[in-house]
Amino acid sequence: MSTTSPAPSAPLGPLSSVPDALGRFGRFGGRYVPETLSAALEQLERAYEDAIADPAFAQELDGLLAAFVGRPTPLLFAERLTKLAGGAQIYFKREDLSHTGAHKINNTLGQGLLAMRMGKRRIIAETGAGQHGVATATACARFGLDCIVYMGSEDVRRQAPNVRNMRFMGAEVRPVETGSRTLRDAINEAMRDWMGSVENTHYIIGSVVGPHPFPRIVRDFQSVIGREAVDQCRRQFGRLPDMVVACVGGGSNAAGMFYPFIDHAGVRLIGVEAGGRSAKAGDHAASLSYGSPGILHGSLSYVLQNEDGQTADVHSVSAGLDYPGVGPEHSYWRDAGRVEYTSVTDSEALDAFDLVARREGILPALETSHAIAWAVKEAARRPADEILVICLSGRGDKDAAEIARLRGMVDG
């Protein structure tokens, strides 16, 4: 073919070839930030391009992912869960076995190395469930960087063990008392810090959200999950799975899991959002299921806003999914029809937690429990020769006290 540019009606090419130079995933993404941050985002973009062209960068990151994180994480057959569901074979991609207990560390090590390449020794981060905060504190301790983590005071309460662990590793945890005192407010405060510190500070965003180039960088660092899963499926089954399921808040574990499968049209991809208490506004945090396109935290994506563009209150039992927006690439995948997005409720997620605890001997994070809840129901409807892989994004130790409280169990 000798065409130069595609005709307007021509297919756009593989879905994986995003974002463009302006950080667009189709119509989504972009960079809606105060001018004060523009130069730093351009610097980050250049540093990232440099890094991925430098074999030494990949070598250093891969070495850390192997010896420090413990990658590759296994692909485990969930035998008793499969038997219970009575349908498709269920497998867990064990991100919960990563150092610090969740996939978040894949990104913080990558961004920590980038920060050092830019000569920035002060790191800020936001955290919801605390997993990203812990992973950032861990990377900073390993690299000898200063670390400040913003965390909504409601989440400080819900995720106390993670707060303690961050402090053990020398991070300063700053509780955020504004707004809903959750993840969204923690991001606001981190951005405000960055407005005044941008010349010596790198902001390690924890999900595939925020202004360009963050959604791309975080997706790329998390894609190690999906790349390993593709290899493992080929080796263990001689083929790709039929379905891949992941939970979606901001959407980093799902983006990393899905991205290497995106151009394999035969693999069904399902993102599970937080359905909370009900489908009523304010009762859930399911941006892709119930939201509409809008701008939040620097990018255009599906968001939960009122008609004036004010961010809506959201709810989820799981702090990591309690966010009124979602990464722009998920919005792109949704509108392209490539990934199905659905939601499950707080109580379904809690039931899935119990189920996996009792039948598989694994305490999954409450975030992950959303993906499991949907997957078990779906597996029951699928034939036994189909393979369903769940991204088991994190372990649930952090949630144990909160679950006990919700269940009315008395500690000790």
């Binding site: 302006l22 972009g30 960079r31 809606y32 930030v33 105060p34 001018e35 004060t36 941050l37 523009s38 130069a39 730093a40 504004t178 707004g179 969204r184 606001n188 951005m191 405000r192 407005m195 005044g196 941008v198 010349e199 809008g294 701008i295 939040l296 935290h297 620097g298 255009l300 806003q305 008609e307 004036d308 563009g309 004010q310 961010t311």
Partner: protein
């Protein structure tokens, strides 16, 4: 309704032309729409106008203002808690614009403009009597659609340059700014600061050599002395958090007393700015 006065970008240009003629500099106070309520906002806008402000920036309350410090955030939260809406904003502007001489610009997050729809937001703003916009989270690369809508409506789209903006980029931003250019004094969020940042005066002088568009300096300016020093090199100053805090502290006072306090404070700033040519 017939209006003899110019509107939109032209009304801003007329203010700077008149200032030049009278050898005055511009004071542009910032207040939040609907804090504590819309009637008070209208009264405050009238007081600011009487006190000698050249322009006014009306903050549109937003739930997640990442460029704002604690004072303006709290003000936005109060306004939203009191039920401020975009419909109410335009109604407030309409009431105020009929009574004041100074052009009113809206300081609005792009989240809010985008949600309503760019064309609809701009049309509603023009009908209400707004002269233009400052959109603190819309960098030049993302601004083509709003820019086109503003140009065709004759409204100003004021751009911002900051201490982290590289020189080439600052020139490009200045070229695209209409109404005036907003020179942000510090890398950081809004909020009163004790000292003027080092290098600010030189930065404004440099910008002055690069653009003919009027330059207003904002962020961190709270005292008549600071305002005077900055106005000596710029075309004017913007005072935001200091005034908003003043209003917050006076919040429980009767409205007349509150408005008198604002008029006094703005009058002092306007006098300092006015005599700095």
């Amino acid at each position: 309704m017939e209006k003899t006065m110019p509107s939109g970008t032209a009304s801003i240009a007329a203010v700077f032309a008149a200032n030049r003629e009278q050898q005055r500099k511009a004071l542009a106070p910032f207040v939040t729409a609907g804090d504590p309520d819309v009637d008070t906002t209208v009264a405050i806008l009238e007081a600011i106008d009487r006190a000698g402000a050249s322009l006014c920036e009306l903050g549109v309350p937003y739930s997640d203002p990442i460029a704002d410090g604690a004072v303006i955030q709290a003000s936005y939260t109060r306004a939203l808690d009191n039920g401020m809406t975009i419909e109410a904003l335009f109604a407030t502007v309409k009431r105020a614009a009929a009574k004041v001489r100074m052009p009113i610009l809206a300081m609005a997050s792009y989240s809010i403009i985008f949600r309503r729809g760019i064309d609809r937001f701009v049309a509603d703003a023009k009908a209400a009597g707004l002269a233009g916009f400052v959109v603190p989270d819309l960098p030049v690369e993302e601004s083509d659609d709003l820019d086109a809508a503003c140009r065709s409506a004759g409204l100003a789209l004021v751009r911002l340059v900051t201490p982290t903006t590289p020189p080439d980029r600052a020139e490009a931003i200045a070229r695209r700014s209409t109404g005036f250019l907003y020179c942000v004094s510090v890398a950081g969020v809004t909020g009163a600061r004790t000292d003027l940042p080092a290098g600010l005066i030189d930065r404004v002088k440099w910008l002055r050599t690069k653009t003919d568009v009027p330059i207003l300096v904002g962020f961190g300016i709270s005292t008549p002395e600071q305002a005077k020093a900055v106005a000596a090199v710029a075309d004017g100053v913007i005072v935001g958090s200091a005034l908003v805090r003043h209003l917050a502290e006076a919040g429980s006072k009767p409205r007349e007393e509150l408005v008198r306090g604002v008029e006094d404070y703005v009058g002092k700033l306007a006098a300092a700015v006015g005599t700095s040519c």
